[in-house]
């Protein structure tokens, strides 16, 4: 059995406790402020008139969205691809589902310049490391204009998984 004096002399746990306790508040802050705690602004953005969209031809549409970014409000620009499909439309995100580079049109489909993933005209992966088809975005019509719901998806996941702030 340890004598009382030896027990008292066990200073290492004390030093460790001190360091741990000292670093704890900042560690907690780093972890809990990964949630920005604000998603009040709408993620629907205007993607231009539907008139120019053709059946089965993907067209890039640039859209602007106002996003609450912690203590700021930012105006962000994004590109999506849209086409007419029968009576409705189809919109895909230009963000490659592999690591998040932006895909470009390549023939009838798409190609990602970062790791050479190729996608067919339906957005399905043909070859390369992309783990899933290009992510579909919700759309709706408002007075002849296409509105798109901008959402980010988890890169690298096997299925579309929306990311919430």
């Amino acid at each position: 059995m340890m004598r009382r004096r030896e027990l008292l002399a066990a200073w290492r746990p004390l030093a460790a406790a001190l360091a741990g306790l000292g670093l704890l508040p900042s560690a907690v802050y780093w972890w809990r402020s990964t949630r920005s705690g604000d998603s009040s602004s709408s993620d629907w953005a205007d993607a231009g008139p539907t008139a120019g969209l053709l059946e089965d031809v993907w067209q890039p549409r640039s859209l602007e969205i106002e996003r609450r970014n912690r203590w700021r409000v930012d105006r962000e620009r994004h590109t999506v691809y849209a086409r007419r499909r029968g009576t409705g439309f189809e919109v895909v995100s230009s963000v490659c589902p592999h690591t998040g580079c932006l895909v470009q049109r390549d023939g009838a489909g798409f190609a990602c310049p970062c790791h050479w993933s190729h996608f067919d005209g339906e957005g399905r992966p043909l070859d390369g490391p992309a783990p899933r088809p290009l992510d579909r975005l919700e759309w709706r019509l408002e007075a002849g204009r296409l509105r798109v719901r901008l959402v980010n998806f988890r890169p690298g996941a096997a299925r579309s998984e929306p990311l919430r702030p």
Binding site: A9, A10, A15
Partner: protein, 403 residues
């Protein structure tokens, strides 16, 4: 151990614990801070709204800065009193260097929140630096990034605060620790010191949990009414500057130079007489206390400095009186003189049904964009902060208590 030696040890341990906690809380604060004069205040305000644990970090950082300065000064005075300065010159000088670094931390950290206090304090401090003969202007320009405050000022101060000075402090601490303490700290003694550290840490946490670091309104360079006042540890120097206003370099050059010279020469001052050393330390203490007391006395009648929240509230109250009351009425019942005179459709803001039907966001939009035929849009006139403050005021004043 004499009482002086024990006190010296406690002040050294408290200083080191403060330094450690200042660095560790800085890790957290740095993750949510932007050193830009446009965004700094908003980022600090955001932190304040993030909740108690975030405010705790800032409070800890804020109060411990004072503790560090206090412990440093106390340690140096007690070391000198005890005669350590003569026996262990290197330890004394290195501690003195560390103390100056601590003051540097305060100087560079003070402006970072960019509230009124930070901004005007920074203006005054740079003004004082400018009065140093010959080098003042150059030094101020070097710290400030030019002849006036501009976009590079905060990045420079932040770099000094969070990168250059910590490196300096680390170097000095390393040199200090390699000096080998008088008696080797082992076993029970080390255990006792570490226990003391834990107790001090607990005290610091308890204090920071109870007393919130102040945050004043956003810096307003056009506000002529604001009277900046220095932190308590600079009050004596500030008072001295007021007394010797005709010779500003006494405050900016002579006093710091004298302090530095005293620190360097301390190992050779009154080495043989404890009584003479005691007299000198007492004199310094009395001079400090006298000047500080005089400053506090003279500042008694200066206007109080409202916190951000207080200022926002009174702004909202003023806005309600000027912009809203003529229709909505002082009691919020929609019975203001205009509403009655013109028979306007003005809701009763004390109606529980209204509060149930509308979210804060809807109220914000109603103020910003107008509502119905009679309520004008205020989006052009009021910024989003004012609108939010108004919604807050309506909620506090008119929302009936929930049953």
């Amino acid at each position: 151990m004499t009482i002086v030696a024990r006190l010296r040890e406690i002040s050294a341990v408290a200083g080191l614990v403060s330094l450690f906690l200042l660095v560790s809380s800085g890790f957290g604060l740095g993750a949510g801070y932007v050193a830009s004069e446009r965004e700094a205040f908003d980022s600090v305000l955001f932190l304040h709204r993030q909740g108690a644990d975030a405010v705790f970090l800032r409070s800890l950082h804020h109060w411990l800065a004072s503790v560090l300065v206090f412990c440093g000064a106390l340690y140096l005075a007690l070391s000198f009193l005890e005669g350590i300065a003569a026996g262990r010159r290197a330890v004394f000088w290195l501690s003195g260097g560390l103390f100056f670094v601590a003051v540097g931390f305060c100087f560079t950290g003070f402006p970072l929140p960019m509230d009124q206090n930070a901004y005007w304090g920074m203006v005054v401090r740079f003004g004082i630096v400018e009065t140093i003969p010959l080098v003042g202007r150059g030094l101020a320009a070097l710290l400030r990034g030019g002849a006036t405050l501009d976009a590079s000022t905060l990045p420079r101060l932040y770099t000094l605060h969070a990168s250059v000075l910590p490196l300096l402090a680390m170097g000095l601490l390393g040199a200090l620790l390699s000096q080998r303490p008088g008696e080797p700290a082992e076993g029970r003694r080390l255990h006792r010191l570490l226990s003391l550290c834990l107790v001090l840490l607990g005290l610091a946490y308890a204090f920071a949990a109870v007393f919130e670091a102040p945050l004043e309104p956003r810096a307003d360079p056009a506000d002529t009414s604001y009277v900046p006042r220095p932190e308590w540890y600079f009050l004596w120097l500030y008072q001295l500057g007021k007394l010797l206003a005709a010779v500003p370099w006494v405050q900016s050059l002579l006093v710091p130079a004298l302090g530095l010279a005293t620190l360097v020469a301390a190992p050779w001052i009154f080495t043989t007489s404890f009584r003479a050393r005691l007299l000198l330390v007492s004199f310094a203490g009395v001079a400090w206390a006298g000047l500080t007391g005089l400053a506090l006395l003279q500042n008694r009648d200066l206007p109080a400095r409202p916190s951000y929240e207080q200022a926002l509230r009174s702004r909202a109250e003023g806005l309600y009186r000027e912009e809203c009351q003529s229709c909505h009425g002082a009691g919020g019942r929609g019975d203001g003189s205009q509403a009655r005179a013109f028979g306007l459709d003005c809701p009763d803001l004390t109606d529980p049904g209204l509060w149930e039907a509308r979210s804060d966001e809807q109220l914000r939009l109603a103020i910003r964009d107008g509502q119905g035929a009679d309520m004008p849009a205020f989006g052009e006139k009021l910024d989003s902060e004012a609108i939010e403050a108004l919604v807050d005021l309506l909620r506090r004043r008119f929302r009936p208590a929930r049953r």
